[in-house]
């Protein structure tokens, strides 16, 4: 047998959980201000997460998917993208939206069961949360095609979970992005679990990054709990996409530290030891310790930041809770641009005699 093709999957990590640094750091990571900004965003995202879970526990929010432990990915995605880029998110990485300017109260509205939450006021071309797994991947192909067709230096960033990589949609999307060399970056947040299904039951592939081989472009792994690594590799991938060099796939290795959602109890299917081991790799702790150690950040700074973030989340919750509800008839008002007369009577029946 003659060898006709060869492939490699690379792995990047700069700062590990014992604060060991490998290799020369990328430029941005040598500017404390940049790392502090990222750390702030991660801290804020975590405060949001905590608040949301609290609201859910007290019956003031619907089922919520926590991002706990995956903030480095979420924030790296949000900060690496330009405002004019388009995010095609899954449901978990709230921090990506937040760091792109979506307001906490907007996200709470969505998770509280109010459609207005996805009518956010910034980054208005970003996609809404995709609940059906991997369905957003082919949307990213369309978005990327639109950018390329209009000759715009913009990038579509599609975030998926490890479970999502088992679905045909994911594959059809990466394959097409390869064919047309589209400006799309696929980010797989491999948190080792898809609800109760562990990563080895999703695929026998040693890495999820190598799925890109099937689509004819490169895939790579990155330490998903190392903000510096994720951000660095994303910067490169976005730059390649923006300059016409086509799609990338980045598998970010991380861990879902919380339950799948507030409706899940992960103790049913995984061990406390495993969770504990990953707690030591917490991406926030890692970045904080590094900043503290570097002297650019102090315990006092940190306390202030925590309070500030808590306050921000509290305020957002307040705004969310005080927002007047939508009228029931709103369910007809965004169905089509104009409500077809076939449904006018249904709308009227719903409105009742008093209403419009």
């Amino acid at each position: 047998m003659r060898c006709v093709a060869q492939f490699e999957v690379g792995y990047t990590g700069y700062l590990d959980h014992e604060l060991r640094v490998s290799g020369p750091l990328p430029g941005f990571a040598r500017e404390p201000a940049q790392l502090i900004a990222a750390y702030r965003a991660m801290t804020s995202a975590r405060a949001f997460d905590r608040k949301a879970i609290n609201l859910q526990r007290t019956g003031q929010l619907g089922t919520f998917a926590s991002c706990l432990g995956e903030e480095a990915i979420a924030i790296a995605v949000g900060l690496a993208m330009r405002p004019e880029d388009v995010l095609l998110p899954m449901y978990r990485h709230h921090g990506a939206y937040l760091s792109r300017g979506v307001r906490m109260a907007e996200l709470l509205a969505y998770w509280g069961g109010d459609e207005r939450g996805m009518d956010f006021q910034s980054v208005r071309e970003d996609f809404a949360v995709a609940v059906p797994i991997a369905t957003q991947a082919t949307h990213a192909v369309g978005v990327g095609y639109a950018f390329k067709y209009r000759n715009e230096p913009r990038v579509a960033v599609c975030v998926l979970g490890d479970g999502a990589t088992s679905k045909g949609d994911f594959y059809e999307a990466i394959n097409a992005a390869g064919v047309w060399e589209l400006p799309v970056v696929f980010v797989v947040a491999n948190n080792l679990w898809a609800i109760s299904v562990p990563r080895p039951l999703q695929s026998r592939a040693q890495t999820l990054a190598q799925k890109a081989v099937a689509a004819g472009f490169e895939g790579e792994q990155v330490d998903g709990n190392d903000y510096i690594a994720v951000r660095d590799r994303l910067d490169q991938a976005l730059e390649r996409a923006r300059s016409g060099q086509g799609p990338s796939l980045i598998e970010a290795l991380t861990y879902r530290m919380g339950d799948h959602t507030t409706a899940d109890d992960s103790r049913r299917y995984r061990s406390a030891e495993e969770v504990e081991a990953w707690r030591r790799r917490d991406p926030l702790d890692r970045l904080r310790s590094y900043l503290l150690q570097s002297g650019a950040w102090t315990e006092a700074d940190d306390e202030a930041l925590q309070a500030e973030c808590q306050e921000e989340a509290d305020q957002a919750a307040q705004i969310y809770l005080e927002r007047p509800p939508q009228s029931p008839t709103s369910m007809f008002d965004y169905l089509y641009e104009r409500l077809p007369r076939a449904y006018a009577e249904q709308r009227k029946a719903l409105a009742g005699p008093s209403d419009d």
Partner: protein, 326 residues
């Protein structure tokens, strides 16, 4: 006799049949160690092992397709789709293969699979977790579409579905998964997959429904009784093939028919029932056939979902109008 909830009936039927027949395999997402997100498969993997109770990769098309392959091989696959809102990738396999394998090969290959999925709204779930698209499945020749609405029927109909020599889509009304308990003999007795169940006798009006709406419909019937209106309530149970005789008989008796379902009105399965009554029972009708349904809109997120679901009040209103018609 053990007391069972509806989801308990599902679990008991699965356990019974797995113990009785080692051709039965159960698979889907999170159905193993986790016992399913609604615990319908709880305890099965422990009892029957991971070769028979299989957590699949996250791919509904795969789940449906492998069920076809297993069924063609003489096994009895029972696949779970986590929510009906994620069942659409199975449609291609159901329409193109499961429903056709027997016909395509004139009986050489057959497809005794069961595809289970919870459906319906009202549990304050996220987007896509509240669908009622049973009409899509019920339009496909070669399939059976079965919907239990009590613990006993969950148990009996699911056993019937697993033993049926042809493919069955088995839709479970999750809103009433744990609403009531009922004594159900765990005796392996299956129920037939081609009959409607008259769950309340009446003489003035026929209320036809299925799934979780049975609950509101029975409540309405009870309230109507206090107003002197005797409502007969029919649980359709099997949408394909439809037992039109039971419905027509009832309408022949009452002269009035209201159909209640959660799904959007237009093209919902209520239309088929109305059409059948209009074709075969027209002369018996004392009033127009009315439908109380979900609206022709997207099922709203949880804040508004209660406005979408047909309520006892909406049912009663329509019944009054139908009774007053002259």
């Amino acid at each position: 006799m053990p007391e069972m909830t509806l989801v308990g009936g599902v679990n008991a039927a699965l356990a019974y049949e797995m113990a009785a027949d080692d051709r039965v395999l159960v698979f889907g997402e999170d159905i193993g160690v986790n016992g399913g997100v609604f615990r319908a498969t709880e305890g099965l993997q422990q009892r029957f092992g991971p070769a028979r109770v299989i957590d699949t990769p996250l791919a509904e098309g795969l789940i449906a397709g492998m069920a076809v392959g297993l069924a063609a091989q003489g096994l009895r696959p029972v696949a779970e789709i986590q929510f009906m809102g994620f069942s659409y990738p199975t449609l291609d396999q159901l329409i193109s293969h499961a429903s056709r394998l027997r016909n395509r090969t004139r009986g050489r290959l057959t497809c005794p699979l069961v595809l289970r999925a919870p459906f319906g709204g009202g549990i304050h779930a996220p987007e896509h977790h509240s669908e009622s698209t049973e009409a899509l499945y019920a339009h496909i020749p070669g399939l059976r579409v079965v919907i239990p609405s009590s613990p006993a029927r969950a148990y009996g109909l699911l056993l019937g579905a697993i033993r049926d020599p042809d493919p069955v889509v088995f839709l479970e009304p999750k809103r009433i998964y744990r609403l009531t308990k009922q004594e159900v003999a765990d005796d392996g007795e299956a129920m037939p997959l081609d009959v409607c169940f008259v769950v309340r006798d009446g003489t003035d009006i026929t209320l036809v429904t299925w799934g979780a709406m049975i609950h509101e419909t029975l409540q309405a019937a009870e309230q109507l009784a206090t107003k002197g209106i005797s409502a007969e309530v029919i649980d359709v149970a099997t949408l394909r093939p439809l037992d039109i005789e039971t419905i027509l008989e009832s309408v022949a008796k009452t002269g009035r028919c209201v159909i209640i379902h959660e799904a959007p009105r237009s093209g919902g399965f209520g239309a088929e029932i109305a059409a059948v009554v209009a074709e075969h029972g027209l002369l018996n009708l004392l009033a127009p056939i009315a439908r109380v349904t979900g609206y022709d809109t997207i099922m709203p997120l949880l804040k508004l979902e209660q406005h979408y679901l047909p309520s006892v009040e909406r049912i009663m209103d329509t019944v009054y109008k139908t009774m007053e018609f002259a």
